[in-house]
């Protein structure tokens, strides 16, 4: 925002900082003309952001919980994503939609979902999922500078993580990162499950298993090469995300690897994801619902047993 006066933040409670403080203090520096609090009107607010982007601004619209994106999907999917194409390249929508998903805070089925796969299926959108503080900053920066709509899906459980953030660093959209080098199994994990995969890798290292952990960071466009290179070497693949396994982003990774490198695989691909239920509220149920380190470690052991 300091670099480009055309960047505005718009959404519900953004001036107050939002429920997790993500936009805290912005209004003090940039004022209420660039940090715009809105009524609860997700559809129109997203549409207003699209209109602002079409007319020359770089709005960062916040959808407080990804669950509420259903109310804004028309503007995102039918307008933001397609305006460039439908107009034969005349229009551009340099829009960022920031939102957060994920379970674990006992908030129930309408404040805990992981809906990123819906968005990754839409041509015209890019979808990024930062797993570290540095990536949260670097991907957001890249998203703001992009000339196409980018959805930034944060995970609420990660808001309490601390990490070094280099000033001004850009994390390119569409570039995966290898979080840990390994020989035996590749684990492709997104968002919160990157940390869980690294913890699982530590645990498995004690068993003599060497796990490579890849964080795609961007789920569309996907960095296929980094994943294929790793799998070609390790010959085993586990894909892990917090979202439901059925129809999840992991299915795309698994299919892509099956299409491109099945001859390199020594074992079937295993996916780790949530059961096919809404997210429950009770701590006992939610803990049973959530996947993490243990499920990833079990999956790695399964592909190794093959």
């Amino acid at each position: 925002m300091r670099r480009d006066g055309g960047v505005v933040v718009i959404g519900e409670d953004v001036a107050e900082g939002g429920p997790y403080g993500a936009t805290r203090d912005l209004v003090a520096e940039f004022g209420d003309r660039r940090v715009i609090d809105t009524p609860i009107s997700e559809a129109a607010v997203t549409g207003v952001a699209v209109g602002a982007a079409l007319s020359g601004w770089r709005p960062v619209v916040e959808i407080m919980f990804i669950d509420f994106i259903t109310l804004a999907l028309d503007q995102l999917v039918n307008h933001a994503a397609k305006a460039r194409y439908m107009s034969g390249g005349q229009l551009r929508v340099p829009l960022v939609l920031r939102t957060q998903g994920g379970a674990g805070v006992r908030s129930g089925a309408q404040h805990s979902q992981s809906l990123e796969a819906w968005l990754a299926h839409v041509p015209g959108l890019a979808v990024v999922m930062p797993a570290t503080p540095a990536d949260a900053a670097g991907l957001l920066r890249a998203a703001i500078r992009a000339d196409d709509p980018v959805v930034v899906v944060e995970n609420k459980a990660l808001y309490y993580e601390k990490g070094e953030v280099a000033d001004g660093a850009l994390v390119p959209i569409g570039a995966a990162v290898t979080r840990r080098d390994g020989r035996d199994v590749t684990v492709v994990a997104t968002s919160r499950l990157v940390g869980e995969a690294l913890a699982a890798a530590d645990e498995l290292a004690a068993e003599g298993v060497s796990v490579e952990v890849i964080d795609p960071r961007t789920i569309n466009p996907l960095d296929r090469e980094t994943i294929l290179r790793s799998v070609s070497r390790t010959t085993r693949l586990v894909v892990a995300h917090e979202a439901a396994t059925i129809g999840g982003f992991g299915a795309e990774v698994a299919a892509m690897v099956a299409e491109e490198a099945i001859d390199r695989l020594a074992a079937p691909i295993v996916r780790v994801g949530a059961p096919f239920t809404p997210v429950p509220a009770s701590p006992v149920l939610e803990d049973a619902y959530l996947v993490g380190r243990r499920e990833i470690a079990d999956a790695v052991r399964r592909v190794l047993r093959w």
Binding site: V8, R33, T38, P39, S41, A43, A44, V45, T46, G47, V48, A49, V50, G51, A52, A53, L54, S55, G56, W57, P59, D74, Q75, N78, H79, A83, R84, Y85, M86, S87, G88, G89, Q90, L91, R92, P123, G124, A126, A146, D147, D148
Partner: protein, 322 residues
């Protein structure tokens, strides 16, 4: 109301006539299987787009609807590039990627027709936010129908525009039917403009078949928007001559009703009458304009038919930048 000068009056007629002839020719091309999919004719509603857009500059924005040809033309689009888009040519406004329902023309501030009913309303509101924040006196106009008036986006957008005092006109073209659904079944109030009071903005109901009326009402609303006084909700009572789409069997209305509107409330006939009665134009002037419009339309069709068809090799272009 200050009287219309001759040049303005004749220009209003010329643009209405251009829209009418464009739609007639588009229907003909559709019948020749040169246009695919579906087209939604604006014939009958010309008085609305023309009366409103006459007050707009090239740097003002509009958002339009699935029935968008009239708004495009009224905002200054080239009919040749429009026909080329309908015919799926590389030379069309959208290189064949948009088609009839998605013509945009950024050079004239047209942010696009729209296949989602009510979809353009918040977008125009966002453009109006840009106008305010850049300190310009640009305005945005969102056209939508009685169908669009029942989408949630209108209510949310009218509220945002009112609380932020945005320079936007919400122009509801009440053409009496949302697809097949008559307005009497879709609204509990007879006068849709009453809704404006609930958002704290002026609401005006106008006879959309007399371009002088829409021109007068829009003059006030645009002036109000340009001077920072905020949005206006305009409801223009109008009628579409074709069905919802071309080929619609129209079982929901009678031929008598259509003929009644055509005979008594045709915007072009009404305009010709006052143009001649008020001595703003002679029959000869009108005949000359008609000939010029016909020539422009035929030139446009020729341009379109000569254009290179959109190429499958270029299918993936324009999804993302670069």
């Amino acid at each position: 109301m200050s009287a219309l000068d001759r040049a303005t009056a004749l220009e209003l007629y010329r643009v209405m006539r251009t829209i009418r002839q464009f739609e007639a020719r588009a229907v003909q091309l559709f019948g020749e299987n040169k246009i695919w999919g579906t087209i939604h004719s604006y014939a009958g509603q010309e008085g609305v787009a023309v009366g409103v857009c006459a007050h707009l500059r090239d740097d003002d924005w509009i958002t339009s609807t699935h029935r968008g040809h009239g708004h495009c033309i009224a905002k200054g689009a080239d009919v040749g590039r429009m026909f080329a888009e309908l015919l799926g040519r590389e030379t069309g406004y959208c290189r064949g990627r948009g088609g009839s329902m998605h013509i945009a023309d950024t050079s004239k501030g047209n942010l696009g027709a729209n296949g989602i009913v009510g979809g353009g309303i918040p977008i125009a509101t966002g453009a109006a936010l840009t106008a305010t924040y850049t300190g310009s006196d640009r305005v945005a106009v969102s056209f939508f129908g009685d169908g669009g008036a029942n989408q949630g986006t209108l209510h949310e957008s009218m509220n945002l525009a009112a609380i932020w005092k945005l320079p936007v006109l919400f122009v509801c073209e009440n053409n009496q039917y949302a697809e097949t659904n008559p307005v009497k079944d879709a609204f509990a109030v007879e006068d849709i403009s009453l809704r404006a009071a609930g958002y704290g903005m002026p609401g005006v109901r106008v006879n959309g078949q007399d371009v002088r009326e829409t021109y007068r009402v829009a003059a006030d609303a645009v002036a109000r928007a340009r001077s920072g006084l905020g949005p206006t909700f305009i409801v223009a009572e109008t009628y579409r001559y074709e069905g919802h789409y071309y080929g619609d069997p129209q079982v929901y209305r009678t031929k008598d009703e259509i003929e009644d509107w055509r005979a008594k409330r045709d915007p072009l006939v009404i305009a010709r009458t006052w143009l001649t009665t008020d001595r703003l134009a002679s029959e000869a002037d009108l005949a000359r304009v008609d000939r010029e419009v016909d020539a422009e339309i035929e030139k446009g069709v020729a341009f379109a038919e000569a254009g290179e068809p959109a190429s499958p090799i270029r299918l993936p272009e324009d999804v993302y930048a670069g």
